[in-house]
Amino acid sequence: MANFHRLPVARGRPVRFTFEGAPVDSFAGETLATALLAAQVGAFGHTREGNPRLPFCNMGTCFDCAVQVDGRGLVRACLTDVVEGMVVNMQEIK
């Protein structure tokens, strides 16, 4: 299970969005990956066998953090800033 916490530094204004329907509180300037990890989200997606995946490289290469944002697939959470009201879900396999 992820166990991330925010360092005690100045943050931007609060930004709220949803992940899998649940509200997530974050701060302007954070990436989606940061916000989800700080919210103790345990899986950004799953493998074929159903095992959880979390960000691995944090620099846009591995795609293990890819999620669906406002209906658009294959969005890398590590390269995407949080936006007020964004609707984030795990990727569906169509």
């Binding site: 074929r48 795609f63 990727q91 169509k94």
Partner: protein, 392 residues
């Protein structure tokens, strides 16, 4: 320091690893030398097709060339049987799915070509049969209605190219083979009744001795031949492949096209693998010698062409994001037939390479293991004899 082995195998791709495993399980003392890492080159960068019917590159030049290429059919038949047994024989989790392959036709000319082609293949003993539009709707409803017929070969399919080579390497180690990576071969010479092999880094090369040497070196085959003083002509072909995002299970077959460069299949994880022989640009030095240490460059025209033909036969692909495209370099021969047999003028040295070497890797390995042991290979290798080029 010197060390003596029964057999030294040059090349740690699928073929070299499978050969090491087959020789070691018969009790041979084997050393495999790999210049980089196991499975790093063509064996790990091809799309993992197991295609036993004649490929597009073998039929695009007309029926005479197709008949010539069909001389390799015994190796394809061996491979179809061997692949099915490999997970059990190696006790390794090699992913092999032989759920059938379709070579599809969109025009009457392509249908005629497929009919002639399947006739040639059936004469060699390959079970490849024409199916009509109704048959396609029954077994491959995912295909576009532009597809009017197909040749259906039930033993075709796919294997996981990422994991098959390393699985053979583990099986070889378990059977007692030795493997050295980052050990480039620098010199090969006859010594007594065997061979002396200099391998390793520039600073600390090592001299090793072996009774027999096997060249399983893909694009480096010609260079290894030169070190032995033998002519082993090969042609490197840099090719491009693309993988999409995961999709729910859709395609059960390996799909090829009778009228263009296409291979399509779905990996176990759901990603669609798209290839079929679209060229990438091989980097060369001022004299035109290919630089195999440099990654070939992707050609935008190949990317577009491959996507166009793939979406034409699989409309569902439109709108599915591609995750990445990559290149690998395969090795073919001047007459498109494999090169399998003794190295001319070099007693105790054997070679195998040349086109479809992922599909045919187990067949090549079985033939090499027999040659090394001094046995008559089960399959007649005369058409693939490397000496055919020396004669010309």
């Amino acid at each position: 320091m010197t060390a003596h082995f029964d057999t030294i195998i040059i090349g740690g791709g699928l073929l070299g690893c499978a050969t090491a495993w087959m020789i070691a399980r018969e009790g041979g003392r084997v050393l495999l030398l790999e210049r980089d890492q196991i499975n790093q080159h063509a064996s790990g960068s091809n799309a993992g097709s197991l295609h036993f019917q004649l490929e597009y590159r073998m039929i695009e030049g007309g029926l005479d060339k197709a008949r010539k290429a069909a001389e390799a059919m015994p190796l394809h038949l061996d491979a179809a049987e061997l692949w099915a047994d490999l997970p059990r024989l190696t006790a390794e989790p090699i992913v092999v799915k032989q759920t059938g392959g379709l070579m599809i036709a969109e025009t009457a000319d392509q249908v005629r070509l497929l009919e002639q082609k399947t006739e040639i293949e059936r004469a060699w003993g390959l079970d490849n049969r024409m199916i009509d539009r109704a048959g396609i709707e029954r077994i491959a409803p995912y295909l576009s209605d532009r597809v009017i017929a197909a040749a259906h070969c039930t033993t075709e399919g796919k294997a996981d190219a990422r994991t098959a080579g390393p699985a053979f390497a583990r099986a070889a180690l378990a059977a007692g083979a030795h493997i050295r990576t980052r050990s480039e071969v620098r010199a090969l010479s006859r010594r007594g009744r065997g061979w002396s092999v200099v391998a390793g880094s520039d600073e600390s090369p090592q001299t090793l001795q072996a009774d027999t040497v096997v060249i399983a070196a893909g694009v480096w085959t010609t260079r290894m031949g030169q070190m032995m003083g033998a002519d082993l002509p090969t042609i490197p072909l840099a090719l491009m492949m693309t993988v999409t995002q995961r999709m729910a299970p859709l395609i059960g077959h390996l799909v090829q096209h009778a009228g263009g460069r296409l291979s399509l299949k779905q990996a176990l994880d759901g990603n669609i693998l798209i290839g079929g022989g679209w060229p990438a640009r091989l980097l060369r030095d001022a004299e035109g010698t290919p630089d195999f240490d440099a990654k070939p460059q992707l050609e935008a025209s190949s990317l577009a062409g491959n996507a166009r033909i793939a979406m034409g036969v699989l409309p569902r692909l439109a709108g599915v994001p591609a995750l990445r495209s990559w290149v690998g370099t395969t090795t073919i021969t001047p007459d498109q037939l494999p090169l399998v047999g003794p190295v001319p003028g070099c007693p105790g040295a054997f070679v195998a390479t040349g086109g479809s070497a992922f599909t045919l890797g187990p067949s090549f390995a079985q033939a090499l293991a027999a040659l090394v042991a001094g046995r008559q290979p089960l399959t007649d290798l005369r058409s693939f004899d490397p000496a055919r080029y020396a004669k010309g």
